[in-house]
């Protein structure tokens, strides 16, 4: 007899099942790789799903040019070590127009560099499905997202026209002009992601662990100044603080938390007793109520 399956075993098996269903049903899928902890788990599960073969799809990173340097280094090392086919896409129109997170509101910047960048890349390569690491526990509108989530022409999401998903059956038959987003981690929580990283002994970007970093306090959030592109405002000073990140993104828009959790055990302990939800650290989400839902309708992942 084998051991009874734990909830992590069940989640893993479900994610592998989803990867295989998508790979079998879509003609040209891609894995949207955003370097964070969720992407790390996503990639690991993709490798498990097709072992001993390699995942039958490339990785895509939509680079805004404002990611932490540690993230880019981690991305390139991962792709090299695991011998993965990595596509990096930058929205050149956005760069040419000088759109950055310093002078533009987060919503404009995100729309141009992330949402439009993603749409460009999907169209350019003709991908009909993209795997993402989104979880239903992240945010209220995500809680209603399907595992196979369809986008009409222009990559728009209509929450009222979602396909019902019954039992384990996943229907990947595309209508004309449609593409799909596939979320193998739908039923994982933040805790599960960390538990799994520990169980599988996965490497993550060092920014998740507490260390002394140059921080600036702005509007109640702690920002880590990753390079000198962000000018200090009147009265602001750079202070070394022991901080880490719960979620990673563009550094001027990602708040750090003060923490002593310098290794995986510490992070897991902190996460299991966390008192603040993780998206609190993402400045783009609190623009207004329903912000995420609107962004998704416009094609944000």
């Amino acid at each position: 007899m084998t051991m009874p399956l734990t909830h992590l075993d069940l989640l893993e098996a479900e994610s592998i099942y989803i990867f295989r269903e998508a790979a079998a049903q879509f003609r040209r899928p891609v894995l949207l790789y955003s370097i964070g902890k969720d992407s790390t788990v996503l990639l690991h599960l993709a490798r498990k799903a097709f072992y001993p073969a390699r995942p039958p799809f490339p990785l895509l990173h939509v680079d805004t040019t404002w990611k932490f340097r540690d993230m880019i280094a981690f991305r390139d090392r991962t792709a090299r070590e695991l011998d993965l086919d990595l596509i990096v896409h930058i929205n050149k129109d956005g760069i040419a127009a000088g759109i950055d997170p310093i002078d533009y509101p987060p919503s404009t910047y995100t729309d141009v560099m992330k949402t439009q960048g993603l749409r460009q890349a999907l169209d350019l390569h003709g991908f009909d499905a993209a795997f993402g690491g989104a979880r239903r526990d992240e945010e209220a509108s995500r809680a209603k997202e399907r595992v196979f989530s369809f986008r009409s022409e222009g990559h728009r999401w209509d929450p009222r026209k979602q396909r019902p998903e019954m039992w384990r059956l996943l229907n990947g038959r595309l209508g004309s002009g449609e593409t799909a987003r596939v979320f193998p981690l739908s039923n994982w929580t933040e805790k599960d992601v960390w538990r799994y990283i520990a169980r599988e002994q996965l490497d993550v970007v060092p920014l998740y662990f507490a260390a002394e970093r140059p921080t600036v306090e702005r509007k109640g959030s702690l920002l880590v100044r990753d390079d000198d592109r962000m000018p200090l405002r009147l009265g602001e000073t750079v202070v070394l603080r022991q901080v880490r990140f719960r979620t990673l993104g563009c550094w001027p828009l990602t708040a750090a938390i003060e923490s002593q959790a310098a290794d995986l055990t510490g992070v897991i302990e902190e996460t299991l007793s966390a008192s603040v939800s993780e998206r609190q650290g993402r400045l783009i989400d609190h623009d207004e109520a329903g912000a995420m839902e609107r962004k998704k309708q416009e094609g944000y992942f």
Partner: protein, 536 residues
């Protein structure tokens, strides 16, 4: 109760009156590293009976909320009872917040000492019955909510019927808003009696009735002092003791093949998740459709090979001989084979806004197979108000219908009551790709009907000559040819031609008779295509 109380920090309410809702709770106890499994809990019931509030209360009482969520809730508008509006936690979409209703199922996750609880919140309005059915298909147990003041309503009955249809056999009737019904035991017992009748009718093997007040928290995680007459389980306590989701380890071995995994020159494996039963090295397996047999040589997962694997595991099976199976096949043990059918009877819940049309092309997805449908006869509707069956030939959104479905080729299908995985299906509109209905198999028929015998036979050799002339002779091309065969069958059906795909693709040498037959068919096929394109 003790273990639960420890984890949830549940204390009996101190004083009797005045009744004050307890809002301040100790922070969540750190949950354990590994949980023994998960339980999927569906919440349903008529609109306004307080589902979203109940879930919000469950999350709140179980300490599953983060501080920022608690603060948002504390700041938000209060309910008439002066408690936070818990429903704000659950109603996620802007349209829902505006209308104050829940239009789509929402998923919530929280951990107790032993297991993960997954709450699936489903909508109460009648026009969203399909969402409710969708939620029920994922549930191990359902909490059916009623308002103590109004009791069992038509919509309660509908939801009970849908639970029965979807095979949810564990149901908790939560009689809510007891605070607004004078905490009356008599009222509760009346509702309980009515529910037990429904439970019998729909075959709920485990039916429990609990009087609660979601707004005040009575009998959710803490025992009500206002209803001392109730000695049964608390809601959270009850959810805690229901056996965790476990696929039947003792059932018949079923392995729906998701895809073929090839690595290097030598490795060819079949990827899939064990739907039921178990498998070990050396076990004999058989492909139900072709009857081809082989033994398991390796059970591969990344990291290590397994000697043995139970239901629920995602693995790659390498067999000792390369039998020709690919996506859609179901492997089984030779002495416990699944039924292979040509037609089936089913109960359907119609999901699409587009009503059923006999002239549209449909596909049936079951396990990992995608089968063209030859015809569908809608025979009757289930009237959810009276629970009677009424003859009918139409089917539209939210209808529950009895139907006979003729398949365009042989496929594995089993009784839903026997095998969930191979006994449930989704109907897909071949053109739009939409999932138009979900269904469960109530009868599986292996004989060929008169209509199937008269149908145009689409053979492999025929397709290979024209539609598949560009394809090579390898396995990937073979899958592509099958895909094209399905599409051609759909087109022909759309043009009103009854069509059957050949049972087994012809292999190897083709004898003279087959060639002659093919020529004849090619002629008629060309004729049919002319009609199709003429019609477009």
């Amino acid at each position: 109760m003790t273990a639960l109380a420890e984890v949830l920090d549940v204390a009996d309410r101190p004083g009797p009156l005045p009744r004050r809702p307890s809002l301040v709770r100790a922070p969540a106890t750190a949950s354990p590293q590994h949980l023994a499994g998960s339980l999927h809990v569906l919440t349903c019931g008529s609109v306004d009976d307080g589902k979203s509030t109940l879930i919000g209360r469950l999350l709140w009482d179980a300490g599953a909320l983060h501080t920022d969520q608690r603060q948002t809730l504390q700041r938000s508008a209060k309910t008439a009872a002066g408690t936070p509006d818990f429903s704000l936690l659950v109603d996620g979409l802007a349209a829902e917040r505006e209308q104050g209703i829940t239009i789509d199922i929402a998923w919530r996750y929280f951990d107790t000492s032993a297991r993960r609880l997954v709450i699936i919140d489903s909508p109460g309005h009648e026009q969203y019955t399909r969402n409710m059915a969708t939620g029920a298909s994922h549930a191990d147990v359902a909490i059916l909510l009623v308002d103590a003041r109004t009791g069992v309503k038509v919509q309660t009955r509908r939801h009970a019927a849908i639970l029965g249809l979807m095979g949810v056999a564990r149901v908790v009737l939560a009689v809510n808003k007891m605070d607004l019904a004078d905490w009356s035991e008599a009222r509760f017992r009346d509702i309980e009696a009515e529910f037990l009748t429904l439970a019998q009718r729909f075959g709920f093997s485990d039916a429990v009735t609990i009087p609660v007040s979601a707004v005040l928290g009575d009998n959710i995680a803490k025992r009500s002092t206002a209803m001392r007459w109730y000695a049964g389980p608390l809601l959270l306590e009850h959810l805690q003791q229901i056996p965790a989701r476990q696929t039947k380890a003792g059932g018949d071995f079923r392995f729906p093949v998701q895809m073929v995994v090839r690595a290097g020159q030598d490795f060819r494996g079949l990827a899939g998740t064990i739907a039921s039963g178990d498998i070990g090295i050396g076990y004999e397996v058989v492909d139900a459709l072709s009857g081809a047999r082989a033994r398991v040589r390796r059970i591969v997962t990344m990291g290590r090979d397994l000697d043995h694997a139970d239901a629920g595991r995602a693995v790659v099976l390498q067999l000792d001989t390369d039998i020709d199976v690919s996506r859609g096949a179901v492997l089984a043990a030779p002495d416990r084979m699944p039924t292979v059918v040509r037609s089936l009877d089913a109960r359907l819940v119609w999901l699409s806004d587009q009503p059923f049309s006999p002239s549209r092309g449909y596909l049936l997805r079951t396990a990992t197979d995608l089968v063209p449908v030859a015809s569908i006869d809608i025979r009757a509707h289930l009237d959810l108000a009276s629970l009677a069956e009424r003859p009918s030939s139409t089917c539209a959104a939210n209808d529950i219908a009895l139907a006979s479905i003729e398949l365009g080729r042989r496929a594995v299908a089993e009784l839903f009551s026997h095998q969930r995985e191979t006994g449930s299906f989704v109907l897909i509109d071949a053109v739009t790709g939409a999932s138009v209905a979900g269904g469960v198999v109530t009868a599986a028929n292996s004989h060929e009907s008169k209509r199937a015998q008269d149908a145009f036979q689409l053979t492999r050799s025929l397709l290979k000559q024209g539609v598949g002339a560009d394809l090579a002779n390898d396995a990937a091309s073979e899958e592509e040819l099958r895909r094209r065969a399905n599409e051609v069958a759909i087109l022909l059906r759309g043009a009103g031609v009854a069509v059957q795909l050949e049972d087994q693709w012809a292999r190897g040498r083709i004898d003279a008779a087959t060639v002659w037959l093919s020529v004849l068919m090619a002629l008629s096929f060309g004729f049919v295509l002319a009609i199709v394109f003429g019609a477009l």
